[in-house]
Symmetry: C2
């Protein structure tokens, strides 16, 4: 009885899929501080030009370089599982599948783009990559990728996580990455904050500022910055997940998919699985595509589609996205990767088009779902991933109530072995659910009131 399908090496996808080519409405450009579109060359101090070209391309298929494939082969293709244990426990007629991205050396989907970005940087002559990390998943994935390619990696890690979660830092150091607590004394931005707030716990926004500052101020031009989600090229690199999954579903004998599910923080693991299916939906296939987020950080289900900054300090270009406002401070839920204020522009536009439905879920339901999954499927899930499991269980229960043999697939984006303190709090009954109060959301949305507005266009009509 088959529970798991791989692909042969000759079946592995050799191109990434770019949803921008198929969206009914063209993507709106990022804007500079003057409100005018950002031209690619303006980003050149931050990213290498080959990545910038990928960021703006509208080509449907982008070749994966042979050497990037060699690196991806180290853990790809990842297995697609039939969740027979979970199905049985739920008594559902649905057939549930999940893509196991936890088998990568860093334990999540993040290395899919990390190795690609590191490779493009190296091709462009870059010797050193800077980035920021919150809980540490992205910083460790980039350190891993840089180790394989012989690049230096410098990670600014939000101080409170740096102090509380030494294990992710140790992963980075094992791969040779340099990890410093942010705010640090190594940048102007960091020193300025420390002068005012010596005890600052840091934030992702500060860490981004530090990482970008270090990249752009390297006079030799050999340093660039890297981002682990949100941007078009990052989502592009992740589509190998969904492209593999489609071939694997065929091997399971499935001819159609009814529901596609992923959790979405910046949007990259969700897009990675979902976009190749969204392409089918655009072409006429009927399916529900569900992007899950915490009820405490409901940017897709309750936020605005607006132009907003990517960082708290407001130094990045303005991106058209679902946002709670760049000054939004999320409550301390355990899914650190889902606490970002904004959503990837490609995912946001697909929501506007009606191709993707957001769904907000409370964290206690997520932990309960992850526990059922651990006991029936055997894998311990990251708190972010537990949101996708919770939505899958909701859909499987619905299929039972409707008596329908639905096919559900979700992205098991990473394991939770570095996140067991959240489980501990759950066992002790110390976790709480937070519904974001309307007035708090309106307060942080007020910060973007005077920014330029994107056109809101649905299914190709402006």
């Amino acid at each position: 009885m088959s529970t798991k399908v791989f692909l042969n090496e000759n079946e592995i996808p050799r191109q990434w899929y770019n949803l921008a080519a198929d969206l009914p409405t063209p993507m709106q450009p990022p804007l500079g501080p003057d409100g005018n579109p950002v031209r690619p060359e303006m980003l050149a101090p931050v990213f290498p030009m080959n990545i910038i070209e990928q960021e703006v391309t509208t080509q449907r298929w982008v070749d994966i370089p042979e050497e990037v494939l060699d690196l991806l082969y180290r853990w790809r293709p990842t297995p697609l599982y039939r969740a027979r244990g979970l199905e049985k426990a739920l008594g559902t007629p649905a057939r549930i599948y999940y893509k196991n991205e936890g088998v990568s050396p860093a334990g999540s989907h993040k290395p899919n783009t990390a190795v690609a970005q590191a490779w493009y940087n190296k091709q462009f002559g870059i010797k050193r990559i800077t980035t920021e990390t919150g809980a540490g998943q992205w910083g460790s994935a980039l350190s891993f990728a840089c180790a394989l390619l012989g690049l230096e990696c410098k990670v600014y890690m939000v101080r409170i996580s740096f102090d509380q979660k030494p294990f992710r830092r140790l992963m980075m150091e094992t791969w040779g990455g340099k990890c410093v607590a942010s705010p640090s004394r190594e940048t102007h931005a960091g020193r300025e904050i420390l002068a005012k707030h010596p005890e600052s716990p840091g934030s992702l926004g500060i860490a981004i500022s530090e990482a970008i500052e270090e990249a752009v101020s390297d006079k030799t031009g050999q340093t660039r910055y890297s981002l682990g989600s949100v941007l078009n090229h990052v989502l592009l690199h992740q589509t190998i997940i969904g492209l593999e999954a489609k071939k694997q579903l065929e091997k399971f004998g499935e001819k159609k998919v009814d529901v596609v599910i992923g959790c979405a923080g910046g949007g990259s693991n969700f897009a990675g699985l979902a976009f190749p299916f969204v392409a089918d939906k655009i072409a006429g296939a009927k399916m529900d595509v569900i992007a899950c987020e915490p009820a405490s950080c409901p940017k897709m289900s309750r936020g605005q589609f607006a132009y907003d900054f990517g960082d708290v300090a407001g130094t990045t270009p303005l991106l058209p996205m679902h946002t709670l406002g760049h000054t939004f401070v999320p409550p301390p839920i355990h899914a650190g990767g889902l606490r970002y204020h904004g959503m990837a522009p490609l995912v946001s536009q697909a929501i506007v088009e009606g191709l993707i439905q957001p769904r907000a879920i409370h964290q206690i339901e997520c932990y309960k779902s992850a526990l059922l999954f651990a006991k029936t499927e055997g894998f311990i899930s990251a708190p972010e991933t537990s949101h996708a499991i919770a939505a899958t269980i909701q859909e499987a229960n619905k299929a039972r109530e409707e008596g329908k043999e639905k096919v559900i697939i979700f992205n098991w984006s990473g394991h939770g072995l570095m996140d067991l303190l959240g489980y501990d709090k759950f066992f002790r009954g110390e976790l709480e659910d937070y519904e974001l109060p309307e007035h708090l959301m309106q307060e942080s949305l007020a910060a973007i009131r005077d920014l330029p507005k994107p056109k809101v266009c649905r299914t190709g009509k402006w």
Copy 2:
């Protein structure tokens, strides 16, 4: 360029391999306290009879039950990797392969026997399994297996690890296992020790006594005890590793193997990879089979082949094995799984026969090797596994010096994501190498001086 090979589902091994059938000399029996051989039925209060039968069988091939295969399929076949990155870094003409057992949900090879043992217990009508665990790898693997099969699992965890390493305990709890610190108030043995030493840090010996006591004192007869290494049936269940690896090497185009390497604590992951190759060696193939151990706990390279107890308290049957004496207290090295005083009887007998060569390695060399492996192959290794990597690097360097195109395979028995504090100490320069002083070894060996002696027979001649 292929770096990784799986197997198709129809190629997965469907039988385990039993080295006992092929050893030139028959295995010597376990002995009871009276010095007479232990009869199978004497073990019935501890293990279910179907497992006892497997423990004593001399059948060469043992069928893997279909339902056990279904469980193993959840993560098997595990990939066999060609270590191209490591080879390049070493500039060796050797071709290095490793079997990645870290992809299992518990992160090591342990679930291979855990699911089999849980299944046989369930078949026999057992509802509840007790066991002990040191650092927690075995306890978490058995909790995982019991969750999948709907059995209760009770783990006695050495108190010092219970207090210092909460993450393994949290894995057990996530899978529904009950984990208590040992010595506990739940058994006579535990209460007796706590009465004398209320602050006892515990030991594996005490934990074994507690787990066995709980199993044999359940009046309903529905509880049994389970061991994660050392015994014949445990090693048998692990041979799926080597059987898969042989098929995978063929897919890589390899016709012969020159060196087979594994780390050995109780012996199960080593035997799992090595025994199917040892069968070829018995049949005439030339190869080196190397069992690696810490220089601080050198039972194979410096200990005696003798009858000894499996536990510190001396309550188990006497087993013929390489030992440092059951009262041996190993120094606090970081490879917790390699700190056991004895070696599996099957591995020990194969050493006596000259089929396997032990090799002792210091921990700092192991950490250096693991670091090189992380930077070139991308995977972070368990401290136990790092011993196999160190020996592999030694052999690859030797091949370079000799200018020989050797084929080397080792068992990458588990990932080190739960063991990063050891890496931290290594980075800080806080680790030390311990060479076991001769007088300490002689002291603990004195404890077995008056026990019965095994016959020392080589290559079939007594």
